[in-house]
Structures are given as C-alpha cells and as structure tokens.
C-alpha cells in the first residue's frame, strides 16, 4: 500500500486550489492512498524493451491549416465571467 502523509495530501490540495478541512484529511489520505496503490500495480508488469505510448491509439496527430476560423465572440467568451470590466475579465488583484 502506497504511503501518503498528511502534509503531502495538503500539498496536493493546495496545488489544485482546493480547501481541505483538518477533519477531512484522514479520509482523503486513505482514499488517495488506495487510488495510488491501485495504479501502483502497473509497476508489477515487466516493460523491458517496450516503447512508451502516449495515446491509446497508435496514430499520429492530425493537423489543421493555418486559417482564422474562430474568435470575434467577445460576449460569448465573457458571458460566464465572475467579474467583468468593459471587455476584460476581472479577478482579485494579483500582486507580484
């Protein structure tokens, strides 16, 4: 079983910008560990000499021509914006 300490669970949650209460930690820790353990089983397979695969289908990427076919829909793009000023999205100030 994959071990996962509470600090790592906190870090994963933080990177995903998900707030996790202290009370939820033990359950998440167990759930995530179970998922990781399940996936870990793949490590038991001997893949020596097998090329890695980045897609399920053995196909190459299809390409499109360099033509403008999209855009010009400012209203649709901004329709669900939580904050808007003129034609800009607005977000709480990002200070750097």
């Amino acid at each position: 079983m994959m071990s996962l300490d509470p600090a790592t669970v906190r870090r994963i949650a933080k990177l995903a910008r998900i707030r996790v209460e202290d009370a939820e930690l033990p359950k998440l820790q167990a759930d995530l560990a179970a998922i990781l353990g399940y996936v870990e089983q793949l490590g038991e397979i001997d893949v020596t000499g097998i090329e890695p695969l980045s897609g399920a289908a053995q196909m190459a990427l299809r390409m499109r021509a360099d033509i403008v076919t999209d855009g010009g829909q400012t209203e649709a793009i901004l329709a669900n914006a939580p904050g808007r000023e003129g034609d800009f999205f607005t977000v709480p100030k990002v200070v750097e």
Binding site: L61, T74, F89
Partner: protein
C-alpha cells in the same frame, strides 16, 4: 581576453544561459482557429479552446509546426520526427485551463548551434540545447484598478517557440550578440518577427558566477527581460549581486528574479514555495506529433539564404571586410538594398555609403531601410555620378543630404544647384593662380621646405571653387605649378 568581473577576492567568471520565447508568425493560434494579430480589442480573438471551456479539444496548426521545423533547420539543429505535448500545470489568472500545453521530455527540435560575432572580428559558437513548441498565456493588466487585475485572453494559445541555449555565454556582450544573431535568423526565416517592443521575443536569463576552473555554481533565473540592452544589463547586475553575496560570506539561493530597468538591479519575485511544482504529464488530448521526413526535406529546400551564408558570399563576391558584411546581412532588407546599390558598381564604395551616410540618414529621420527616403536605385545613381566624375565625393555628400530632404534624384539636384564638378583645366589653373598670388608668404614657406602646406593650397583652391573642383585635377595642376 575573456570577460571577468573583479571582486574583492579576485576575478570571477560569469556563466549565462538564455531561454528565449519567440512568438511564432502565424495567422491563427497553435491549437485553435482564433487570430493572432497584435493590438486587437480585448478578448476579441479568443476561442472556447483558448478560454478553457469544458469539452473543447485542441487541434494543432500545421504552419506552427512548420515554423518550428524551419527554425530548427536554421539553427543547424536536429529535427525530432516524433515529439510529444505535455501539460505544465500551474495556477494563474491569465491561464484559463490551469495548464500550459508545452513539450517537456520530447521537444520537436534538439541540439543546434548559433555562431555569434564579437568585437574584433572574433566569432564564437553558442550551443542550442533544444527548441520546443508551447502556448502563450493571456495578458494581465495590474494598473487599471486598485483592487482588480484585468485579463485579456487574446494572447492565450498563441504559439511560442522556447529556444534554450547551453550555458556557453560568458559576458554581457556575448549575451547581446547571441540575441541579435538569433533575432536575425528568426527574421530571415520569417518564423518570428523579433519585435521585442510588442513582446514577440522575450528572454529568461540564467546567471551564475564562478572562479576560473570551478564547476558551475547555483544559478538564478531573471524572468521576462524584454530588450537586448536590458538582458546585457541584467546579466551584469545579477552577476555583481551574486559576487557580493559570496564575498560577504553568503550563498546564492536558486530562485526566480525580476530585472528592474529603472534601478538597474534584479530583485526576488516573492514566489510561493510550490510555484515550481508543474506536475508535467502527457496531454491526453494530443497524440504524438509525427513528422514525415520528406515534408521536413521540403521545408529545408525552401529555406532562404541565411545570414551566415550571405555574409560569406558578401566577403567572397564583393570583397568586403567581414565586419562590413556582418553589418549588412543583419537584416534581410538591408542586404537586399545593398546588393541593388552594389550591382555593377564599386562594391566597397557602395558598402561605405550604405553603412555610413544612409544609416546616419535613417537614424536622423527616424526611418528604416524599408521606408528609406532614398531608394537603392537613387543611391546607385548618385554613385554613378561620382564614378563618371560628374561630381566629387565631397559634393556627393551634399547632394545626398538634399536627396534625403527633397526626395529628388541626384542628377536633378546636381543640375538645379549647379554642382557639376569643374574639370576644365583652364578654370582650375586660374583658381590656383589666384590662391598662390594671394598667399605669397605661404608659397615662400612651401618653397623653403614646409611641404605640409600643399594641403592648405588644395583646400583653398577647393574653397574658392565652392567645392566643385575635381580633386585629382587640382592636385595634378598644383604639383605642376609648385614644381
């Protein structure tokens, strides 16, 4: 003589590697059909893919792939026929998807090399580690409101080439030369316009310092420097900061810094501790990018003559000094202008006029080679008037200034201002006689051995003839008269 910074504990060598983000010249974005034009109204060039709407799938733009391959070929680099796209995950307001599609483990272009020209005719090879394709992010404006940041996604999804150099750069001069050369190659290839003011090319500068013979020490990354001059300043400022730190007993922490041009210093970005955990993984929406060898060969066959080849040809065919050739080939348009002026004429004289008078006039009038007030054909005509002795070199400069001012042809200016060179030996002899008669004392001095005065007599004669005398004839007749 290598560049060193003198510290309290002796000389320090600087080590620099550059990551250049070059915006790919294309009509539409890397994975969507929205337009890429600069300066459009906010959020007017955004597709649902760029805005990170659910269920939207990216489809790659063939021309962006071709541009990356052309650039790789122009950098003498290995083209990887199989490459792959990964997701680089980070959270920022101008990145709607929460990840940037990039190429991490398998870039489209591998190792290459750029030859840069340094002062004194020295050249140096700077290695290129890799080039990969990725998406640009949107643009955040922080100065529009006291409490909010404004986001424009027009740039989100535009194709970028990230071009990473080896840590082969050892001075601010080399950093500048590398960027100038890279920019020149990109512009020749037409794969990036190289316009740093509009952000089409920006550099992340990795700097460390060391004592000679040491292994590399810890480096810092100065992010998003947007002019060649600032890159050179940032290299020096950051190196000096690190040296001071070491010499006062401290150590350099690997971190991301910003260059502040107003203060001429770098400062730490208060980045969060997890900011660099990008959790790359292969993008499940995108299959491997597989290129056909014949397609790559087809692109290679259509590449233009690049600056290095053109420079070699200029030195060989026009017998130009390498420095002149390097200056003329920096921009394709300048090289074409020069070749038109030089065609059928004295090539070295043509180079002198383009690099000297023309460049000065462009600077002064705020124009460039494409909008030059004097065309290549017009400059050629002026050189012809010198070649057939209609005017002398001194008058030619005056005519050139009038051409810049009025846009008239050289011949028209020579006629209207009566600048035609005097080649009538009788008129020249008469002018010389007058000068000699008016300067009996100087003539006596000359005859008693003060031969330097010859130049004085030439000058006075030329002045008396309003600059229009043929210099060769004046010299010849004066020698005869003084004999």
């Amino acid at each position: 003589m290598s560049y060193m910074i003198e510290g309290k504990t002796g000389p320090w060598e600087i080590v620099v590697g550059l990551e250049v983000h070059a915006q790919v010249t294309s009509h539409s974005k890397l994975f969507s059909g929205a337009a890429t034009d600069f300066g459009a109204g906010p959020n007017s060039q955004v597709s649902f893919i760029d805005a990170g709407f659910p269920g939207m799938l990216p489809v790659i733009n063939e021309e962006c792939v071709a541009q990356a391959v052309r650039t790789g070929l122009g950098l003498n680099a290995q083209i990887n026929l199989v490459s792959r796209f990964d997701r680089k995950n980070y959270f920022y307001a101008d990145l709607p998807t929460g990840y940037q599609i990039s190429q991490y483990l398998h870039p489209i272009v591998g190792k290459g090399v750029i030859e840069v020209e340094l002062e004194g005719g020295i050249t140096k090879n700077i290695g290129v580690t890799r080039l990969h394709l990725e998406q640009d992010a949107g643009k955040s404006l922080h100065d529009q409101s006291p409490s909010k940041s404004f986001i424009d996604l027009n740039r989100a999804g535009v194709a970028l080439m990230e071009i990473v150099s080896e840590p082969d750069i050892r001075s601010p001069e080399e950093a500048g030369a590398y960027l100038r050369k890279l920019r020149s190659i990109l512009r020749y290839l037409g794969t990036c316009d190289g316009n740093m003011d509009e952000g089409s090319m920006r550099a992340d500068v990795n700097v460390s310092v060391r004592k000679q013979g040491e292994e590399f020490r810890t480096r810092c990354e100065v992010k998003n420097v947007n002019s060649i001059r600032f890159v050179m300043h940032a290299v020096e400022a950051e190196a000096k900061r690190q040296i001071e730190l070491y010499e006062s007993g401290g150590t350099v922490q690997q971190e991301t810094r910003l260059y502040d041009p107003a203060r001429g210093e770098t400062r730490s970005m208060r980045s969060k501790e997890d900011a660099h955990d990008y959790r790359y993984f292969p993008d499940p929406d995108l299959l491997p990018l597989v290129l056909d060898e014949a397609w790559v060969a087809g692109l290679k066959a259509k590449l233009p003559e690049l600056p290095d080849d053109k420079c070699t040809r200029f030195v060989r065919d026009y017998k130009l000094p390498p420095y002149d050739a390097a200056v003329l080939v920096m921009e394709q348009a300048t090289a074409a202008f020069y070749e038109q002026v030089a065609s059928g004429r004295d090539a070295k004289l043509a180079a002198n006029w383009v690099i000297g008078e023309l460049f000065a006039a462009l600077n002064r009038t705020g124009t460039n080679i494409e909008t030059s007030p004097v065309s290549a054909a017009a400059l050629g005509e002026l050189l012809d008037l010198m070649a057939d002795a209609t005017i002398n070199g001194k008058i030619a400069k005056e005519v050139f200034e009038a051409m810049v001012e009025t846009g008239q042809s050289a011949a028209a200016i020579v006629e209207s201002k009566g600048l035609r060179q005097v080649t009538d030996t009788g008129a020249i002899a008469a002018a010389i006689d007058q000068i000699l008669a008016a300067n009996q004392d100087k003539l006596a001095e000359y005859k008693s051995g003060k031969e330097k005065l010859f130049g004085f007599f030439v000058g006075q004669t030329m002045k008396a003839m309003a600059g229009k005398g043929n210099p060769a004839l004046i010299n010849k007749i004066l020698i005869e008269k003084l004999a």
